[in-house]
Symmetry: C2
Subunit: 313 residues, 2 copies
DNA sequence: TCCGCGTGTTTGTCCTGGACAAATACGCCT
DNA sequence: AGGCGTATTTGTCCAGGACAAACACGCGGA
C-alpha cells in the first residue's frame, strides 16, 4: 500500500515523489539508471529506490535540458558543471528579458515580503493596464520565478507565495474588468487544464485576455479530467475551449490529451492551446497560440468568421 | 516512442489513456486484470493492451465504489447490474438533508448557470456577512456539493465550476475585509495544506475567519511539502500554522504529517488543524479546531495569553 | 455489551530485465 | 547542398514476483 511518501522527508524521496517533483515518469527514471548509470539512488531495506536531494536537483536540470532539445544520452550522467554550462548557453541565446520587474519581485520574495509583493503587483497592473500586465509582464515574472526556482535560488514555499499573491491580484483585476461597462458577448470560452497540469497562472492570464475582449468566460479551474472538459463544453455550449500547458507537463501527454479531447467535442467547438510548453504543435482542429498577445486578434478573427457564417444563413 | 495514443479512436484506449481518464494507475490496472480477471482488454499486434469503451465505463463505476469504501476484491469482476445496485444503495443511505441555500446552489449547478451562481453566492455573503458565510453557509454548501457529486447527481466539471465561483467570491470578500479599516495585528498566521490535499475551500474559509479577527495572514496555497511549510514558518516568523484537512486525505497521513511538522518548527509556533477530516485528534503541540466558528474565540484566547507573556517580561 | 489487541488477508506500489516502434541522427547518392 | 534509406536512440509497455501498509476478523478482558 502506498507509503507515507513525504516528498522530502529527511532529504530522501521515493520514485513516486521524484516523478511528481521532476515530471519524469517512473519508467524513464528506471531506464536512465539502467542505461546511463544515472540517477543512482540509494535503496531502502526492501530494495526500493531512495533518491537523495542532490540527485533530484540534477534531474531537474536534466529535464530542462532535454526539454530544450538535448538528447538524454548526451547529457545524462555528465557532471553538474557541464549541465550548468549548457543551461547558461541556452539561457543566453533565449530571448532573455527578466526585466526590472522580475528583479524587483525576486528581491521581495527573498525578503519574504508578502504584503509588499502584493502592493507591487497591484501597482504594475495599474500602471501597465490589465492587458499589458497579463500578456507581457505576467509571463515574464512567472518565468523569472520558475528559472530562479529551478536554479535553486528560491525555495518551493517562496514560489507558492508568489503564485498566491499573483493569483489574488490578477483575479481581482479580472473581476473589476468584468464589472466594467463592456457588454459581454460571444465567443463563449471555457478555461481549464488537463489532469496533470496544476499550474493556474497561465490559465488566469488567458482568462484576463479573453475578458478584455468582452468574451463570456467560464473557468473550471485546473486539473479537469478530459471527458469532463468535453462534457462541460457541451453543457455550457461554448465556442472555444482554452487550455493552458506549462513546461512541466510531458509533451506526449499534452498532444495525446488534445487528440482525445478533439474527438470528444463537436467540430463546431474550437480548441485553443497555449502556454510555455515547448513541443506544442498545431494539429487539425487544434489551434496553438504562441503568445497571450495573440488572443485579442484571434478573437477578432473568430468574430468576423462567425458574422460571415451568420450572414450566409 | 509513445504511440499517438488516440485514446478514443475506434473506441479503444491504451493503458496510458485509461490511467488519465479513470485515475487508476497503470500498475493497478494490470494487477486487477491479473488477480480478478477484469478488465480484460484486447491486445494490439504488439501485445499491448487496448481497452474497449465499455470496460472503461465500468472502471469508472468501480472507482466510485472503491472510493466509497468497497474493497476491490468484492466488486471488481462483478456484472454491471450489481455495481449499479451497490451505487444506488450508497446513494440512498447517504445522510443528507440540505438547507435551502444548498438546494438553490445545486439547482444553479444543474442549469450550468455560472453567472447566476456567482451572483447568488455574492448575495449570500452580503446578507449573512463574511463571518457567518465562511463559518456556516460555506461548509454547508461544500458538503452539499460533495454529497451530490458522490451520488453521481453532479458531474466533476460541475463541482469544479462550484469551486471556482466560490473561490472567486470568497477571495474578493476577504480582500475587501483586509482593505477595511481594522488594523492588522498579531497573531501572524500561515495557511497551507499538506501535499496530498488539493482542496482549497476549507483553507480559504479559515483565512476569512482569521482575517475578520484582524490577524496578519499569509497563504502558501495548497499542497506545500511539509519541510517547506516549516521553512516558511521560520522565514515569516509566524505565530500560528493553520492547516486544512478534507475528508479525502487518509487520516494516517494527516497525523504522521502533523508529527513531522511539529518536530520541524519551534515550539513557540502553534499548529492549528481543522477541516472535515474525521479522525483528526489533538496531540501535544497540535490544536484541533472542530468548527470554523471556533477560530474567533481561539484567536482572542491566544492574544490574551500573549499579552500575559509580555506583561510577565 | 463494547472496546482494545494480535493475527490473517487484501491491496497498491515497487522491482527486474526484456521488447519494440517512433523519433532522431547519420551516411550516401544525386 | 539536398532528398532518402539505414542505424541508433529513447520512451513506454510487458510479465510475474515481492512486500509492507491498510484493512477485516476473532478473541479476551473490562
Amino acid at each position: 500500500m502506498t507509503n507515507i511518501d513525504a516528498p522530502d522527508s529527511s532529504r530522501l524521496m521515493s520514485i513516486a515523489a521524484v516523478e511528481r517533483d521532476c515530471g519524469l515518469p517512473k519508467d524513464t527514471l528506471r531506464v536512465w539508471e539502467r542505461r546511463y548509470g544515472f540517477p543512482k539512488p540509494l535503496r531502502d531495506h526492501n530494495d526500493e529506490r531512495l533518491y537523495p536531494a542532490d540527485q533530484v536537483a540534477t534531474l531537474r536540470l536534466l529535464r530542462r535540458l532535454v526539454a530544450a532539445g538535448h538528447r538524454p544520452g548526451r547529457v545524462v550522467g555528465r557532471p553538474d558543471e557541464d549541465l550548468f554550462a549548457l543551461l547558461r548557453q541556452i539561457d543566453s541565446q533565449a530571448p532573455r528579458s527578466v526585466g526590472g520587474e522580475g528583479q524587483q519581485v525576486l528581491k521581495l520574495l527573498e525578503a519574504y515580503d508578502a504584503a509588499g509583493l502584493r502592493e507591487v503587483l497591484n501597482a504594475m497592473v495599474m500602471r501597465a493596464g490589465l492587458g499589458a500586465f497579463a500578456a507581457e509582464i505576467g509571463p515574464g515574472l512567472a518565468e523569472a520565478v520558475g528559472v530562479a526556482w529551478s536554479r535553486g535560488e528560491l525555495e518551493i514555499h517562496q514560489e507558492h507565495l508568489f503564485t498566491e499573491q499573483f493569483t489574488t491580484v490578477l483575479r481581482s483585476a479580472i473581476n473589476a474588468a468584468q464589472g466594467a461597462g463592456v457588454p459581454r458577448r460571444r465567443p463563449r470560452v471555457l478555461f481549464s487544464t488537463f489532469p496533470q497540469e496544476p499550474h493556474a497562472l497561465g490559465l488566469l492570464m488567458a482568462e484576463a485576455m479573453f475578458t478584455l475582449e468582452g468574451c463570456l468566460g467560464i473557468s473550471l479551474g485546473v486539473q479537469t479530467p478530459i471527458p469532463e472538459i468535453a462534457a462541460a463544453a457541451r453543457a455550457h455550449e461554448v465556442d472555444i475551449l482554452a487550455l493552458s500547458f506549462s513546461s512541466m507537463i510531458p509533451v506526449t501527454q499534452a498532444v495525446a490529451g488534445l487528440s482525445e479531447l478533439r474527438a470528444l467535442v463537436p467540430s463546431t467547438v474550437e480548441i485553443w492551446a497555449g502556454g510555455a510548453c515547448a513541443g506544442l504543435r498545431p494539429k487539425p482542429g487544434v489551434r496553438v497560440l504562441r503568445a497571450l498577445a495573440a488572443i485579442g486578434p484571434a478573437v477578432t478573427a473568430w468574430r468576423a468568421c462567425e458574422d460571415g457564417r451568420i450572414a450566409q444563413v
